[in-house]
Symmetry: C2
């Protein structure tokens, strides 16, 4: 088998809090091999990042100093080394951080995250997705929304991230649906009642301050009248997304919005935005990080 192997020109690494993905790449951006693991940043001791990475990419290392480009929480303070945030407005990728390694077979790089000084905010990982989107849409001028655990809204113009804002919507949904008293009404899995979802979004956008009492009402309505789990889940989702849209209004009102997220989340955000008179475009996030890492590799000029 070894004789058939073409050694990669470089290696792409997406190393988040809970997952690690690696790709063996040609200089032209072709994928030769790939691998995934649950050895996310949070599971790795500070002095074991290099050994952990090597255990996943060793078969690909045929040449000295193979460039490795990584993004994500691996560059956080609790990660391998801290790759300091770059301040917006700026291009999504730049100041690529070189990491000293013991093993001379790799030349290790980490992409820094972005920070915003005015209305303080941070991102780490999403800047690479934004770079990936801009690879295919270099002229994009408008708003990128990246739905997820910590949803990001970013204003993009002339290839730069002008400003951005983070919402904990996904993490709030996970905590409330699995661990709060609401879990008794929401259950696991199952559908989302579209009418209840739309109603909750409208209610919350028009009266966002009522959120903490509207949340408990999901449970109370179920206890007093009985409610299907798909209705309770839709209320929770709609309340939290409505709260986000109420605050993110300057980002979407009258703007061109592109959604980059998992298909199910994209669909939820599309429904919510359409009800506000905004028609977003939808983009699957599959491999968008790899596109961003590829753009970063090319910018190294190797």
């Amino acid at each position: 088998m070894q004789s058939n192997l073409t050694y990669p020109d470089w290696i792409a690494v997406d190393w988040g809090t809970s997952n690690l993905r690696v790709w063996a790449m040609t200089a032209e951006g072709e994928i030769l091999a790939e691998n995934a693991s649950d050895q996310g940043m949070s599971t790795v001791a500070p002095d074991e990042f290099e050994v952990t990475l090597l255990s996943h990419i060793a078969p690909w290392l045929g040449n000295p100093n193979t460039p490795v480009i990584a993004c994500g929480m691996v560059g956080a303070r609790q990660g391998w080394v801290e790759a300091p945030y770059r301040a917006v407005p700026t291009t999504p990728v730049g100041d690529i951080f070189q990491v000293p390694c013991k093993d001379s077979r790799i030349s290790m790089h980490i992409l820094p995250g972005l920070k915003q000084e005015r209305s303080v905010d941070v991102m780490r990982g999403e800047e690479t997705q934004i770079a990936g989107y801009l690879t295919d849409n270099p002229e994009f001028d408008g708003i990128l929304c990246l739905p997820g655990t910590h949803t990001k809204w970013a204003h993009i113009s002339a290839g730069e991230v002008v400003s951005f804002q983070t919402f904990m919507t996904g993490e709030l949904f996970d905590l409330l649906s699995h661990q709060s008293v609401l879990r008794h009404s929401i259950g696991e899995g199952g559908g989302l009642d579209q009418e209840a979802f739309a109603g909750a979004i409208g209610d919350t956008i028009s009266r966002p301050e009522a959120v903490a009492t509207q949340l408990f009402k999901i449970r109370a309505v179920d206890l007093v009248h009985g409610a299907h789990a798909s209705v309770s889940r839709a209320r929770l989702s709609g309340i939290l997304l409505g709260l986000e849209l109420a605050a993110a209004r300057p980002y979407w009102l009258g703007q061109s919005v592109a959604l980059i997220g998992p298909p199910a989340l994209n669909a939820l955000y599309e429904t919510a935005l359409l009800a506000q008179g905004v028609a977003p475009t939808l983009h699957d996030m599959e491999n968008i990080t790899l596109k961003g890492l590829t753009a970063a590799y090319k910018s190294l000029g190797q």
Copy 2:
């Protein structure tokens, strides 16, 4: 020792989700003995409530049919038996629910919770605290606020609960401070920066829709500028309490407000309300449930 024991005239039981408290009482309301356990409602199988209760009160049972009066989640659907909610407006305690028992030494009763049909809401346990407060303050006309995991605001007039509203503020604080990304900035225990607390309340009352992004900003500010845990914790507490006060405004604006909660929570709510120009009275909740149970016992006419 046995020869010195006066058997109680009745037994009071506060049986919540996670704790059980029992008191041996005289007809005049004197405490002969008391006991506490972590065998809360959520730890007891449906057919084991009677046995569990007896294991805590058996030494007190000298006479047949000793009345036992219980309140709390023991009367919920997942509890011993469901004591149906009573609809407001109504007195806090009434329609005491008799529970059939196998053991003839006890005559078991559970106090129903309250429900509200218009703006659907429920309480179970707090109605007994309200009854306890009204025992000492029978002429009270105004707003009772019971801060806790699920804070209740109740409008009291002429001895009745007129309306009430529940906020998940305490549960949101616990989930976000212990299990969300904010835990890295908040840590465990420690103080609360008063200036940051007041600032967060003011920010949130004036712009409640920004909550989901203000929450993430606690983490971002710590990452970019560094923040003391007591400041981050105060921001979280102030944001959530500010959101509650924004929606509960009809309850406190220009009203006479009495706070009934643990001293530390009472103090937080007092600070927040004083900043809005409302001077609440503070009442320790210690034994207020027992006073409510005593009022219920007397209402049985035994």
